[in-house]
Subunit: 241 residues, 2 copies
DNA sequence: GCCTAGGTCCCGTCG
DNA sequence: CGACGGGGCCTAGGC
């Protein structure tokens, strides 16, 4: 189930990685240098680091801090293992966009491997989709008398989360954010409102931003543009999901 | 330098993790269940998984596929280790925003640990900043006769990468993207141009999007708005960085 | 395959 | 400390 080699020879480590790279997760502690080139470029000098590969092609070089790897290639990349003198070489190619990672391991302290699966039905609760779902089920979360006309209404300038109508017959553009709304969210809403206004001359059009909160500068933009903000809390939503 | 325990008792594993959690990277292979709650929520049933902790508070639960952990807490989080019967429990708290990760390890196959550093002077070449630097050094990359007036010019609607002037005395708003420009980039540029026009009535104002490429829909928006596109290649830039 | 938009985004920088 | 915007973003969903 779990295999590992301590201070293996380059040859043994190469064989080990070759055997498991397409079926298991592999973890390597080693003295490592690495380069990346593709859309951008980066380089790492020799140092102890942690390397992880996964059967889907993921390759990551981790350091002692940060959540993200310093150098990596994403799923779909292809991994090649070879030997250059006393150095174990991992080369990874991502094809679209073309990106290359080369890792030279001068000393392998440990290489280990285990078969690990995937939670197929993994689900995160509390995403933007959940909030939109709740509004669809109970439109009054936006405001009293609000009626939904369309979800994911497609326009030339992007897709509107919810397009609806208020009790006075005005069109209402609703933009939903799962957390704190930023200025960018307000600009987005403004764009949609201007588009809908252009398409419906003479008709009243309102824009409502629905989020758990809003930054002060975003709120200033919002007010400048004549848009509205509606706060929701997790408690508002939870009953309708 | 590298320590590890194979199939340790819960007690030994606990002690091991407690000793190293604030100074080293720790890797655990185990039979794991986990929950996350905070801005959102998620849950994982018992399964073999890979767990990594780092001294800066990073905690990650990895599965056999994907680059990103399924459940995690970022740097700055605090890790607590305890025992619940035969189960090793890791609890992690992130304080702002408040988020909790609880990991229950029913079986530890291996726990290992090594001190790993950080590349302090790590640098990625080819970021947006590099492109802007190159234009600052050689404004004609934008167009012949272009003069820079200001970098990161702050406005009410965001900060303009480069504000300049063309040879005819028109104001020129330059928006730089490191890769393929999306519609979002065009909207951003349009916003800035409108703002600058509003502040400089009667003066000619142009908007130029500088990127390695542009999607077809983004190009359509760009033309509709009367904006311009200037392609750059890595080769254009590299001489000026 | 590319395009589009969300993310528990993370991450650095600047106030 | 929060706020803002970039990222080799990654990842899921449409076309």
């Amino acid at each position: 189930m779990l295999d590992h080699l301590l201070n293996p020879t380059v040859k043994d480590a190469t064989q080990f990685i070759g055997r498991y790279k397409s079926s298991r997760v592999i973890v390597i502690y080693g003295q490592v240098e690495a380069t990346y080139s593709g859309r951008a470029a980066a380089q790492l000098r020799l140092m102890p680091r942690l390397i992880i590969t996964k059967p889907d092609g993921v390759l990551m070089v981790h350091e002692g801090y940060r959540e993200k790897p310093v150098i990596w290639n994403p799923p779909g990349s292809q991994l090649f293992v070879s030997v250059d003198g006393d150095v174990l070489v991992l080369r990874s190619i991502r094809y679209s966009p073309r990106e290359y990672v080369t890792i030279r391991i001068h000393k392998v302290y440990m290489v280990s491997s285990m078969e690990i699966g995937l939670t197929e039905d993994f689900k995160v609760i509390g995403t933007e989709k959940d909030v939109v779902d709740a509004i669809m089920a109970n439109p009054s979360l936006v405001e009293d008398g609000f009626k939904v006309l369309s979800r994911e209404y497609e326009t030339m300038v992007g897709s509107i989360d919810i397009l609806g109508e208020d009790k006075l017959g005005n069109l209402v553009v609703v933009e939903v954010k799962r957390g704190e709304a930023s200025p960018e969210a307000v600009h987005q809403l403004k764009r949609y409102v201007e588009y809908i206004k252009g398409k419906n001359p003479g008709r009243g059009v309102r824009g409502i931003l629905v989020a758990t909160g809003i930054s002060t500068s975003a709120y200033r933009y919002l007010k400048d543009y004549g848009l509205e903000f509606r706060r929701y809390t997790h408690a508002n939503i939870i009953n309708y999901t």
